[in-house]
Symmetry: C2
């Protein structure tokens, strides 16, 4: 690939002059300018981002660290981030932690090797202060997406609030006992449980940690023929599987059991029954996260933490 030095030789000017032309510096004679531009075009010059980055300015790379891109929701997040990054002139280098703490740590080193200008992450263990330490070592700005991480700028939906919304709706619809199916440390469960106890159902709620389809089916079997069961799923994938398990067990949905998912992924509206879900504003989150990161990149130095939770929206369909 052609370099500035080569263009300089071909056009009989010095390399810095080529640099000036290609960077739009106006203090260059028009004739030279034309000659250089023509040569660059002819050989399809592309700046060497490595050299540029090495030289001290930006790399225009963002590290993006996700937990599981094969989850439709995170895939949407990745797509939106990529789009936003591009709008801001950045490219993304993508990593998938697969919910693996070791891998997450390893990837942070990789990210440092490439001297990314900043990092967007779905942090594991967001309530510990682990990431605060990571951010210091990275010494580039870090923004947490979809989760609120201690000590980091965070762009996320208030999960506890979403749990409350789900609880409120299920109670209004006269469900009588309640289940949150998902990770036990999920804020959604906290909010779900709290709202239920406020509504007089403190003794009617339980949490099932999702492990696999069989275990969920076995757990749900215990509710057959009992009081109307309102279920809040940690995400739409769980929701999909729960619907499938309920069908196997012969539950009438939404009469005997209702299900509310989380993330409102595309498939939800096509399911049978279609899946009620709490939607997250993916595009907005990506836009906020990227623009915040760009701001931090362009304005280094200490800065107050960003922490403005966004709000989920309950989308009612057939499943509850």
């Amino acid at each position: 690939m052609i370099t500035m030095t080569e263009i300089a030789k071909l056009t009989n000017v010095s390399q810095p002059t080529v640099s000036r032309v290609l960077n739009g510096n106006m203090n260059v004679a028009p004739e030279i300018r034309e000659r250089v531009l023509a040569c660059a075009r002819e050989h399809d010059y592309q700046v060497n981002a490595l050299a540029k980055g090495l030289q001290g300015s930006r790399t225009y790379l963002m590290g993006v660290l996700l937990t599981d891109i094969s989850n439709g929701f995170f895939a949407d997040v990745a797509k939106a981030i990529e789009t936003e990054a591009r709008k801001n002139g950045y490219s993304i280098i993508l990593f998938n932690s697969d919910y693996n703490l070791e891998l997450e740590k390893e990837y942070l080193d990789v990210v440092r090797r490439y001297r990314v200008d900043g990092v967007l992450a779905v942090p594991l263990r967001e309530t510990s202060d682990m990431w605060q330490g990571y951010a210091e070592k990275l010494d580039v700005p870090v923004v947490a997406v979809t989760r609120c991480a201690k000590g980091l700028d965070s762009v996320y939906v208030d999960h506890a609030e979403a749990g409350g919304m789900a609880a409120g709706y299920l109670v209004r619809k006269k469900y009588e006992q309640f289940l949150f199916i998902g990770k036990e440390y999920d804020q959604k469960y906290t909010g779900f449980r709290y709202a239920l106890s406020e509504l007089g159902h403190e003794n009617d709620v339980a949490n099932i940690v999702y492990q696999n389809d069989e275990q969920i089916r076995d757990a749900l079997r215990g509710y057959v023929g009992k009081r109307r069961l309102g279920i809040f799923a940690g995400n739409d994938i769980y929701g999909l599987r729960i619907l499938s398990a309920l069908r196997e067990l012969g539950f009438a949905v939404p009469q005997e059991a209702g299900v509310i998912g989380f993330d409102d992924t595309m498939m939800g509206r096509y399911l049978n029954p279609s899946l009620s879900s709490v939607s997250q504003p993916v595009a907005l989150m990506a836009e906020k996260a990227v623009s915040r990161l760009v701001y931090r990149i362009e304005h280094p130095g200490p800065c107050e933490l960003w922490d403005e939770p966004l709000h989920g929206e309950l989308v009612i369909r057939e499943s509850a």
Copy 2:
């Protein structure tokens, strides 16, 4: 972030010696070796990949160019590629063409700027010789994934064959008229149509180009109350939507209408009815594509094109 030169100063050796130590070159006195390693560990040294790349060796970056990562299938592909790349010591820089030719071209320039060692792409217009030109300009190896591109190493599933499998199964199940719903230039349609005509159904097959849900519903309405309808969908997302449309129109599935999807994404088995589909060996494709790319990176120079189609597998569930 600490550099070799800084470590050199701290340990009273020359910078090249530090380089030797950190690269595992054994011709260094053990005492020096220890001193340097300790210092590097203490300051958590990470090599500057930009400098390393600039200096002429590898960047250990792969450009990955997908059409739409929000499609569960491509999300799986992305995940598998990332995993394989990591196994080989590479990181990926990810782009989403969004089926947009302009964007695809633009991203190829970006990829060149970062001096990636190679490119994995889901090429748009794979039957034109456009990508052959792209590959030349890139002057790094390019491997096409999930599609067979003219002039490129390609790792993909034989779509025509898959179409034939779908056709064969639907005929065996006594469907009497047939629909392919998807892009008209899809090889799946070619194979579907061909197999059907071999089986004596050359006049019972049509293609509907997917545009939106309403248009599909309207098109399907014309088949209500007619002969048993066998549908092959261009991908599982279409399949999902088609099932939903059939439900709205009151079709009994699989009795009056049968549906076979493509990609066999996770959700298929949880749908109601669950979706029969042709599965693609995603992990295998990613593994083959990445290892082929690594091979081409490590063995530059001309080389015979790779073109060994893999085979889809028909997964039968309830929808057909």
